[in-house]
Symmetry: C2
Subunit: 374 residues, 2 copies
């Protein structure tokens, strides 16, 4: 909330009208512009993570809004700024952008809890003073496009010697909670032949995924076990329960489906051969999203004019708020490099020159989009 | 501390002198007896675990002390009762019994912290009002033997249709903390080929143990991964660090050594072939302990007279305070069955008949040991 209040101050300084809505999204409305782009990203990132993931894109949007507004030759054109809450899914992924595009019901809000603390979303909104505020709903007709700047969070740009990435598509992401139920027991007196060790069964399952997924994928497909919990998790107890968060991502929806089927097969075999009961619940299933071809061309042309040879076209392995905005508006994204490809870690960083060059190309591209006829 | 105070009340009711010492052990001293057995077990068990693990053995000791003391024909014979703190290792395994036999230095106490909460042992002792109390040190010459009753915590007795287990040896237990260091990163934008995924490397390491240990062991050897933590442990982050608690147990010290060497070999190969840095720190190394042959015979004879065919000789897969007492006194242990072999879980239980039959044989055996000439 401190960051939101800080941002609202900056929005007001830029001459826009600041607003926070009932889901915690912050907006900066340009009340003078007639023809507008919506631009933004998110403020929160993963816990104990870096300073650029999300926040940089919000500042790009604000900088584009401010500089276009200050330029008399661009009168009537403008940018509305959005800082979407909880892109990372502390409650649920893309909470704020889903709310704006109309994909989040009041009933779903009632059911959401913080994944770490268990605090209900409604309580968190009340504690933040946001309970009862209306939630803003996007009117697609008000905008030419949605455009988002972001750090790459990988090292494709670095590896290719490029400093600007024009996103062709955002990958789809299927996420699962895997649960293994066995029998908790004493780790000294329970013979191996009698055990139903949920932790060991999970290790075997993840080993099977590790062995079998590589034959099905492309070099760009990724799959990750981000969390493992053994219950009760003590040194001298055979775990009676084990859970894991597992996900896979690709731009090709058919490949995602193929991997989902493979995971089900691996589970079936593990349940048939092992002594535990394993389930995998799909907790989210984000479809791949193609970026708008005309908008990509606009950014490509702008980048090529100002920094010839500095830009490449690339898919985004990470999901972004643009994924949801692309369901209602023509959408584009611009990436700048992450040093060493590192993100979702406090050491995440980008060279100052890359940040400012990105902001320049971003704003110029938005101007280009605003100038084009419909 | 509530349980300790309750126990001290019962000790006093039985006519013994109750004392709590500077490590949190509770004692019941029989000041009248000239020839004595020391008997006891522990009060705490694993968190959220059962009601019999440890506590039953303390009550067996108290019942033996009480009934022998009340029997005029046994004048001069007696039992000192001990309830050892923290057998399970919330701070360190066998804290109380190690203190009693003189294996715990003040310097080591300074260094110990609660494995769950990080609270220093010194602070916990202060908070419990135990700081500054002297720690009792065993005088081996005062006792004929140490005898401990306990639930089996496995299902060997059930499988063999026996209700009394006379322990031949307590297995040795080597425990390790395994740590894998990789590179924390974004789970969408970091390609598989570029990852240094600490969690995946740990899964592969545990898979190698699962594949290779069975060829080296006996049906009684056990090995367990009780805890796994991925850091930071979020769904969309490639874990930069992974830790696990791993242990193996056997009655044969040469086999333990062989498994320790195998673990080192697996680690070396993982470090050579993988992209993470893996270490395994041995956090404890309890040697196997043989129970005293003469005391085993005494319990066997007693059991055979009262319940013919009900007893068997068996090793203990679990470690017990008797492990440490056996370093200074002839030691014996008597097991009663665990229903379904379940222990270290709240559903842990034993039939009432088995508990009372065990108490009867336990006390009769202690009387037999006390009556024997030195």
């Amino acid at each position: 909330m401190d960051a939101r209040r800080w941002l609202m101050g900056r929005i007001t300084e830029a001459g826009l009208t600041a607003e926070i809505d009932g889901i915690g999204n912050v907006y900066g409305w340009d009340r003078q512009a007639k023809r507008k782009v919506l631009s933004g990203s998110h403020l929160e990132t993963q816990n104990r993570s870096g300073w650029l993931d999300g926040a940089m894109g919000v500042i790009y949007a604000l900088e584009a809004a401010r500089s276009i507004r200050e330029n008399p030759s661009l009168k009537g054109l403008g940018v509305d700024v959005a800082a979407f809450c909880d892109e990372e899914g502390h409650f649920i992924s893309y909470l704020g952008s889903r709310s704006l595009v109309g994909d989040l019901s009041e009933a779903e809000m009632d059911s959401l809890v913080n994944r770490e603390t268990g605090q209900p979303l409604r309580d968190a909104l009340s504690a933040a003073g946001l309970a009862g505020l209306p939630r803003h709903r996007l009117a697609a007709k008000d905008y030419v496009a949605y455009v988002e700047g972001h750090i790459e969070q990988g090292n494709t740009l670095e590896n290719k010697g490029a400093t600007l990435g024009i996103v062709s598509a955002i990958v789809g992401n299927w996420q699962y909670e895997i649960e293994v139920l066995g029998q908790q027991n004493h780790a000294g007196s329970t013979r191996m032949a009698q055990r139903r060790d949920a932790g060991l069964e999970l290790v075997r399952l993840l080993g099977a995924i590790d062995a079998r997924f590589p034959a099905l994928v492309t070099p760009d497909t990724v799959w990750t076990t981000g969390k493992i919990v053994l219950d009760p998790g003590a040194k001298s107890i055979v775990p009676g329960k084990a859970t894991a968060l597992f996900q896979f991502r690709d731009v090709d929806e058919r490949l995602l489906t193929r991997l989902g089927v493979e995971l089900e097969d691996i589970l079936k075999e593990a349940n048939a051969n092992g002594r535990c009961q394993i389930t995998a619940t799909r907790i989210s299933m984000n479809r791949p999203a193609l970026m708008d071809a005309k908008l990509q061309q606009s950014i490509t042309n702008t980048a090529q004019q100002r920094y010839p040879g500095a830009s490449i076209s690339m898919p985004s392995g990470a999901g972004h708020d643009g994924l949801w905005l692309s369901t209602v508006l023509p959408t584009a994204m611009l990436f700048v490099p992450s040093i060493g490809g590192i993100s979702h870690h406090w050491s995440e960083d980008t060279c100052d020159d890359d940040i400012t060059r990105g902001a320049e190309v971003f704003t110029a591209s938005v101007v280009d989009m605003l100038r084009e006829p419909d």
